[in-house]
Amino acid sequence: MLGGAAGGFAGPADLDLPLDDARLREVGLTLGSGVVMVHDQHVDLVDQLRRIAAFFRDESCGQCVPCRVGTIRQEEAIERLAAGTGEADLSLLRDIAGAMRDASICGLGQTAANAIQSAVVRLGVLT
């Protein structure tokens, strides 16, 4: 995980990636606050995503709707996906991510779907 819960996931194919904001942006990643959290095959990535979703649900201040409700709907969709139900939930997650990114007041809501989306898109987690 690069850049923290508001950052994204890189995979084994990305080991030659230079950690430079401009280069990372090209592939949809960020250095954020400099987090490099390494996970091996023993780590349950789905569990990590569940925690990321719960983290943003806990930390949303509640002021604006996209973040206040979006973070809890994101968590619910992830819990359903983790339980192995609901193909439709992947597109729901994408829908939620778009609204949070575009319409939230601050950076918290705008980035609350980043890591989850990158895990789905780049690593195929939950798919």
Binding site: P66, R68, E76
Partner: protein, 290 residues
Amino acid sequence: MTAIDDTRPEIATVEAMIDGVTVRVAEGTTILDACGGRGCGIPTLCYGETITPRNACRVCMVEVEGSRTLVPSCSRPVTEGMVVTTRSERIDHSRRMVLEFLGSSVDLSLTDHVEEWNAEYGADPTRYGPEAARVDEPVRIDNDLYVRDYSKCILCYQCVDACGEQWQNSFVIDIAGRGFDARVSTEHDVALPDSGCVYCGNCIQVCPTGALMFTSEYDMRQAGTWDEARQTQVDTVCGYCGVGCNLRLHVQDDSIVKVTSPPDSGITSGNLCVKGRFGFQHAQNRPTAD
């Protein structure tokens, strides 16, 4: 005799492009107002005429060229050279999601326009399933004058601002808690009679969702007798003191069922005190037959 200077200061204006049309508006005009204000086609939920917008609901978002995210039209002033788009796939998606987020978490049955907007933007609040978390709050009936049902609350902040520094300066309610658990609340959620509430009812006046309601209206809705089609509105002046507040009496079957004040009134801006708002019973104490 001194000559009167008749030249008025010129109002500064800015020019912008909205949906391909060039507009010139006074400096400080919001995008929403430049588009024609409420009812112009841009949906609004937390926006109220008498309260400074908090842009918390994010349903009025538009695109502004050069902005990474969408922009709340209710509070962003038009600036020189701004290029605004009020409908696009991205905007529609965002509006649809906000409508779904609110529709799936609170009761919007008394909120104006929601059904037509849901249809317009293809919002389906039921797609989050029956397990989707909702704002589950008991109806608070703790006084004779008004009822609070926060399961209808969209956290528009208008009641908080009306109670606080924008109108009443009572500061009896505020947002407590955080995230999805945030609620409008008195301290420790004490009942209104144990709080500093002065029952001006200015919070009811600004509530857009029916979360705050006259007890008279609540009781009639419970009894199934509330019928706005049968109601008339009578504007008059409050007779309690010399201020001369404008009252709007909502009358059904020859009885006053609630009292508001015209938001555009230069005297009250929609605000009243407890006497003007709730002291209407004496007006309908008619002599009985015996």
